[in-house]
């Protein structure tokens, strides 16, 4: 068919004007590149975060002063600031005593900004200091590398002991075994009793820069006004919704909320964290998709321009083809095929660049980047469609040429 002829002519033209074609395709290339790379990025980070959140503790919900929605929405947060109260030690004890569905009820309280750790000549600032009940170890994602975690005895006596992360061990006790050493947490001497195995980074933030001390000691050091975060673990995933419901009712009870009152605390589960995350990456992705769409339109217009030039350059060719029996639709499809081939070649180049990008990103970061095949297929289809769409006008112009006028053209 004449289609084969059209495709052959298209590649021939593309090849005989390599530089011009490449410059023409820049918009499409960049657009498809960003499109595929962003999808790869979001997918890679999503996969990573999903693993991280899953490791945060299985079947655990956390009761906090604010819900995730309140923390991420300005208006909700202002309202919640007036309404919500910090979680108190009394409320933690109440939940521990009455949450019958729970396998574990643990409490933590932590701060990062302004903290100061010292050991001998070494010091660290802005380390996450957490006051924790000893059963936190059952819910947490880290493992004990050496020594032990806080014990229930430490709990009861508010012992001056510390369990440290890998970064703290490395920086405060370089080259020596930290277990049995002393460090000061904002001026208070603590005995190092254990060290966590390294966990690595999330978004460039070390997860190993922390020190855990008994909750009572924490409250003695920093005051009792910080809100607690109470973690409740269900014996199985199936019981998690029931546990969340029961915990919420207990909280509303102890806070004497009436039926019509809104919660003045928040309950956060792995699923709500995940949905928040998706919401965030969704925003990033849609902004980038918007940007690549703009490139796509610009790229399409450039293609239209070059195709108009091609039609003018090849008016005589059109005349010859028409004189030999080409119908309007033959000429139309010839130029449509040409602009579609042009832009899909741009699409393929963009996909190759995105592939290179994901390989580099996969090598440089711990994120599991792969080329998203669905996005690749979509990108190819989109780039072809852009060529077709922006090729319509030039192709129609060519198809409508009168044979004799075209034959008389100068070029």
């Amino acid at each position: 068919m004449a289609l084969r002829e059209a495709i052959a002519v298209a590649f021939d033209t593309l090849w005989s004007h390599k530089l011009r074609s490449f410059l023409t395709l820049l918009g499409i290339i960049i657009s498809i590149w960003t499109l595929v790379a962003v999808v790869a990025l979001v997918q890679g980070v999503n996969g990573y975060v999903a693993v991280k959140i899953a490791r945060l503790g299985s079947n655990v919900i956390s009761i906090e002063q604010y819900s995730l929605q309140e923390m991420t929405d300005q208006k909700l947060f202002r309202a919640a600031q007036l309404r919500n109260r910090p979680l108190s030690l009394r409320e933690f004890r109440f939940l521990r005593a009455h949450d019958r569905l729970a396998a574990q009820v643990a409490a933590t309280s932590s701060r990062t900004i302004g903290t100061l750790l010292k050991a001998g000549a070494h010091s660290m600032t802005d380390v996450r200091v957490t006051g924790a009940t000893s059963n936190v170890i059952d819910l947490a994602s880290f493992d004990v590398l050496a020594g032990r975690f806080l014990s229930s005895t430490d709990d009861r006596h508010d012992a001056s002991v510390a369990f440290i992360g890998a970064d703290v061990a490395r920086q405060l006790f370089p080259g020596i075994d930290p277990i049995g050493q002393t460090l000061t947490v904002d001026g208070h001497n603590c005995l190092v009793i254990g060290q966590a195995s390294p966990q690595g980074n999330v978004f460039g933030q070390s997860q190993d820069s922390f020190v855990d001390i008994p909750l009572g000691l924490y409250r003695a050091l920093y005051g009792a006004q910080d809100s607690l975060s109470v973690q409740v673990q269900a014996p199985s995933a199936a019981l998690l919704p029931a546990l969340a419901g029961q915990t919420r009712m207990l909280m509303r009870n102890i806070r004497h909320l009436r039926y019509q009152d809104a919660d003045n605390f928040g309950i956060i589960g792995a699923d709500s964290l995940m949905s928040l995350w998706h919401q965030l990456t969704g925003i990033i992705a849609s902004v980038m998709v918007g940007v690549s769409f703009v490139f796509l339109v610009v790229g399409g217009i450039v293609i239209m321009n070059i195709m108009l030039a091609a039609v003018t350059e090849r008016t005589r060719e059109v005349g010859i083809r028409k004189a030999l029996g080409a119908r309007r639709r033959d000429i139309l499809s010839q130029f449509l095929v040409e602009s579609a081939v042009l832009s899909s070649v741009g699409g393929v180049l963009g996909i190759l660049l995105a592939y290179a990008f994901t390989r580099v990103a996969a090598a440089l970061t711990p994120l599991p980047f792969t080329l998203p095949w669905l996005a690749v297929a979509a990108a190819f289809a989109i780039s072809t469609a852009v060529g077709l769409f922006f090729g319509i006008y030039p192709a129609q112009k060519a198809a409508r040429l009168e044979p004799i006028a075209a034959l008389r053209a100068e070029t």
Partner: protein, 258 residues
């Protein structure tokens, strides 16, 4: 061979308006005008041309440069539309045909050899010859086979992969002829097909045209050379866009007599 039909010789209908000429008249024009607007002036390249050509006639068109021969050929070849007047091809009024029908006629019915060759500059000789078959929907192997055959006939088989700018003028002319004949058109329109050829090649081309005529094709040939015109059976002389004389050649008279 019957005497060349003049307008009066065409029975009845053609004289009164839109009615089609008789079935053996393959090409007929009536009061054909082509006027080019040139700024404020108007150039009339054709001023009321009346011709009628029967199926399987061999006609030469002669006339001074600028007299309108190419313009007439373009109209007859369905490449150009007249400003005024009627043109019947195969008893169809061409002005009433739509675009696709005209394309089909240009592809199947008419082979056109242009005065200026009009070859695709970027395509090889073989591909140029194949082009009409592309639009006729022939398969690739069939196209190749027929194109090579046609190139062999015009003695250009070994130049099949050359592009037009790698061929001599005469060779280009022969590629153009091979292309015009590839689809076995029933009408061959040749605008000075021997203009660039030496006498030997020119003779070969004329023999080729003769064979085509013997096979039943209708041939219209523009030429400046009287001896070339002698191969035809009838000469139409054009002057200032009008038919000045329309007469049989010696060969035509012989065919008529014998």
């Amino acid at each position: 061979m019957a005497s060349p039909p003049t307008l009066d010789a065409i029975p009845g209908p053609l004289a009164d308006g839109d009615a089609a000429p008789g079935p053996d008249v393959i090409i007929a024009t009536r009061d054909l005008w082509k006027i080019y607007p040139m700024g404020s002036e108007q150039v009339a390249a054709l001023r009321g041309v009346n011709i009628a050509i029967r199926r399987n006639e061999y006609v030469a068109i002669m006339g001074p440069s600028g007299s309108g021969k190419s313009t007439l050929m373009n109209v007859i070849g369905c490449l150009d539309t007249p400003t005024r007047g009627q043109y019947w091809l195969n008893q169809h009024l061409v002005s009433q045909l739509d675009d696709d029908e005209l394309a089909h006629i240009r592809n199947h019915e008419i082979g056109f050899v242009f005065q200026t060759f009009n070859l695709l500059a970027r395509a090889t000789a073989q591909h140029n010859v194949e082009l009409p078959l592309v639009y006729a929907g022939a398969s690739a192997p069939e196209r190749t086979q027929r194109a090579l055959e046609a190139l062999r006939k015009v003695d250009l088989y070994d130049r099949r992969l050359h592009r037009p700018n790698e061929l001599s003028g005469g060779q280009r002319q022969r590629v153009a002829i091979a292309r015009a004949l590839i689809n076995n058109p029933s009408i061959l329109l040749a605008d000075e097909p021997t203009g660039n050829l030496d006498s030997t090649t020119s003779n070969e081309i004329m023999q080729l045209l003769d064979r085509l005529w013997q096979q039943g094709n209708t041939i219209l040939l523009v030429t400046h050379e009287a001896d070339i015109a002698e191969s035809a059976h009838r000469v139409i002389h054009i002057r200032d866009g009008q038919v000045a004389r329309d007469e049989p050649t010696r060969r035509g008279r012989q065919a008529q007599g014998g």
